[in-house]
């Protein structure tokens, strides 16, 4: 039986506002328990919600970036259920009339194929607190600092057909919200969370099969694994004649499997109704125009421009535009006059490698774009070879990450280590003569036809000059001098 997988993703992105969506308490991560839960967040008797305008603007910007409809009028609704991390016994969300709907985003698969994924809706709601299962004599501890943090819930159409597509979509949304500056996308801290709705059906069938919802997917890897596992589980059930139960499941990364949630969430009737403490949200043309004007260049636009403007491959453009910080860094280098391809090699190569190893984001790079430019300028003007430039880079990096943190300049390193490239033909000729004299057998073999030994001589010359000889000069002189009898 040929099974088709249908996936829809629900992403909860915590909006990067300073204060909560309905109160003036801070949203900063990592504060002591309940130190950022004010009366409104605690659901104290008598308090009322007041809507944070920045959260609305962020939702609008997201709607514009995904070509969606920004609703002129949307309504906040109460989703009623009981849970300790939900202080009011209801979550303020949006139900029938969300602020954004009917958008789309393009994903690119490994094969290079492009696919458009529909975004059914994106609505504003408040986050719940956290249950900590520290054992307080068999009790759980509740921290409500997170309660009231604004969330944008982004719901995709069930257009995804594989775990890989789902990850590509999740990454595209992740990149977008970071580009827009509306969410920091920190999966570990929980500011970007994903639930996957998965079902299967025999290929060719029109109706959808029963779907399950899998939660607790806080990494791209887990999303892929959880979906694959869930698909396999459902196919196994159906192929052995059973029925898939509609339920909510949790992904267990240690066991790499999903299991049903013990709280019977699905038995809940949320009794949605418009929140009488809040009035209809009107988003006027002023706000939309201001949002549009404030939008940065979108990632896919920037990527295409990099290919066009800098002659980069799609792959390199992708890598460089993965984040605004990365793209801005690259462009700062190029704008200083460095050749785009050279700059691309270095940013995606040497710099990326060092950043990865140190676990740093490019925004926190010890070698900033100005420092990198200094190094690359010396490569372009021939002062140092590309190979030695890497040593210079390491030195600059080390100095910037040292105890006193003051980075040395590229020129300082070149001078102090004497790394200037040797471009004087006379000096190189002298070295070549010495190398030839020191290696008579190889010389004989080369002259009798063993062309491969050319590389040996290049290596010897480079070794003798501490890699400082200009490679082109070495090549040219060696060619003529080795051939001479």
């Amino acid at each position: 039986m040929d099974w088709e997988t249908i996936i829809g993703l629900e992403i909860h992105a915590q909006l990067a506002t300073k204060s909560k969506i309905f109160s003036g308490a801070s949203t900063a991560y990592g504060a002591p328990p309940n130190s950022q839960a004010c009366l409104v967040d605690l659901g104290y008797p008598g308090v009322l919600p007041v809507l944070n305008g920045a959260a609305v603007r962020m939702a609008v910007v997201f709607g514009l970036a995904t070509d969606a409809t920004v609703a002129a009028r949307s309504v906040f609704a109460r989703k009623n259920y009981f849970y300790p991390d939900l202080p009011k016994g209801y979550q303020i969300s949006q139900y029938e009339l969300p602020v954004v709907h009917d958008g789309r985003i393009e994903i690119r698969l490994d094969s290079g194929e492009r696919k458009t994924i529909g975004i059914t809706r994106a609505h504003l709601e408040e986050d719940a607190g956290k249950s900590l299962h520290e054992n307080y004599q068999g009790l759980s501890g509740i921290d409500l600092n997170r309660a009231g943090t604004p969330l944008l819930e982004i719901v995709s159409e069930p257009d995804l057909r594989s775990a890989k597509e789902a990850v590509a979509y999740m990454k595209a949304i992740h990149q977008l919200v970071r580009y827009l500056g509306i969410c920091d996308g920190n999966l570990q801290e929980g500011s970007f969370r994903c639930d996957a709705n998965v079902s299967v059906r025999p290929r060719g069938r029109h109706e959808f099969g029963t779907r399950t919802e899998t939660k607790n997917l806080n990494s791209f890897r887990f999303v892929e694994r959880a979906i694959n596992h869930e698909v396999e589980r459902q196919v196994d059930i159906l192929e052995s004649g059973g029925r898939v139960v509609q339920e909510t499941r949790l992904y267990d990364p240690d066991r790499d499997e999903t299991r049903p949630m013990r709280t019977k969430e699905e038995a809940n009737d949320y009794r949605y109704f418009p929140d009488p403490d809040l009035l209809p949200l009107v988003v006027g043309t002023d706000m939309v125009d201001a949002a549009r004007a404030s939008m940065p260049e979108l990632p896919w636009v920037k990527r295409d421009r990099f290919v066009e403007q800098y002659g980069l491959s799609e792959y390199d453009a992708d890598v460089l535009t993965v984040s605004r910080a990365s793209a801005d860094y690259y462009e700062a280098v190029v704008r200083s006059g460095i050749d785009p391809k050279l700059a691309a090699n270095w940013v995606t190569g040497e710099l990326a490698g060092a950043l990865n190893k140190a676990g740093l984001d490019i925004a926190d790079s010890p070698v900033d774009s100005k420092s990198l430019v200094q190094i690359l300028v010396r490569v372009e003007d021939g002062t140092i070879s590309g190979k030695l430039a890497k040593d210079v880079f390491e030195e600059v990096w080390a100095s910037a990450t040292s105890a006193d943190g003051t980075p040395v300049s590229a020129d300082e390193v070149i001078e102090s280590k004497g790394l200037r490239q040797i471009t004087d033909a006379g000096a190189v000729e002298a070295v070549i003569r010495e190398v030839m004299a020191a290696n008579p057998q190889q010389l004989e073999k080369y002259r009798s036809g063993k062309d491969k030994l050319f590389g040996f001589f290049v290596g010897q010359v480079m070794k003798a000059t501490g890699s400082k000889a200009n490679p082109t000069l070495v090549n040219d002189l060696l060619k003529s001098m080795l051939a001479d009898r």
């Binding site: 504060a31 002591p32 009366l39 605690l42 809507l51 305008g53 609305v56 501890g141 009737d269 009107v282």
Partner: protein
């Protein structure tokens, strides 16, 4: 309303109702529902539901932190607190 409905509503609303009391609730709630069923006779064709008496729209607040940490004051009313956390019987996933 019948007994089953009352029990399931009580569960949704997290209200413990003693067995002996259920019959009284069934009776009272049935009476109330019967009373509100009068609404059926209203002709509401083409009438929009009113969610608010005001024809206003939601004002927006500026994004800024205006609340300080007053945990100690707010937790004075808490029945069970430890290390600043509100304690509840263990929450299972």
């Amino acid at each position: 309303m019948n007994r089953n409905e009352v029990e399931s509503i009580a569960h949704l609303a997290r209200l413990a109702i003693a067995d002996e009391e259920i019959a009284v609730y069934v009776e009272n709630l049935s009476r109330i529902i019967e009373f509100v069923n009068q609404l059926d006779r209203a002709d509401t064709e083409g009438v929009d539901p009113m969610a608010h008496p005001l024809h206003m729209t939601q004002p927006l607040r500026e994004d800024g932190v205006t609340e300080a940490d007053q945990r100690e004051l707010y937790q004075q009313n808490a029945p069970a607190v430890q290390h600043g956390l509100y304690l509840v019987p263990k929450v299972l996933d």
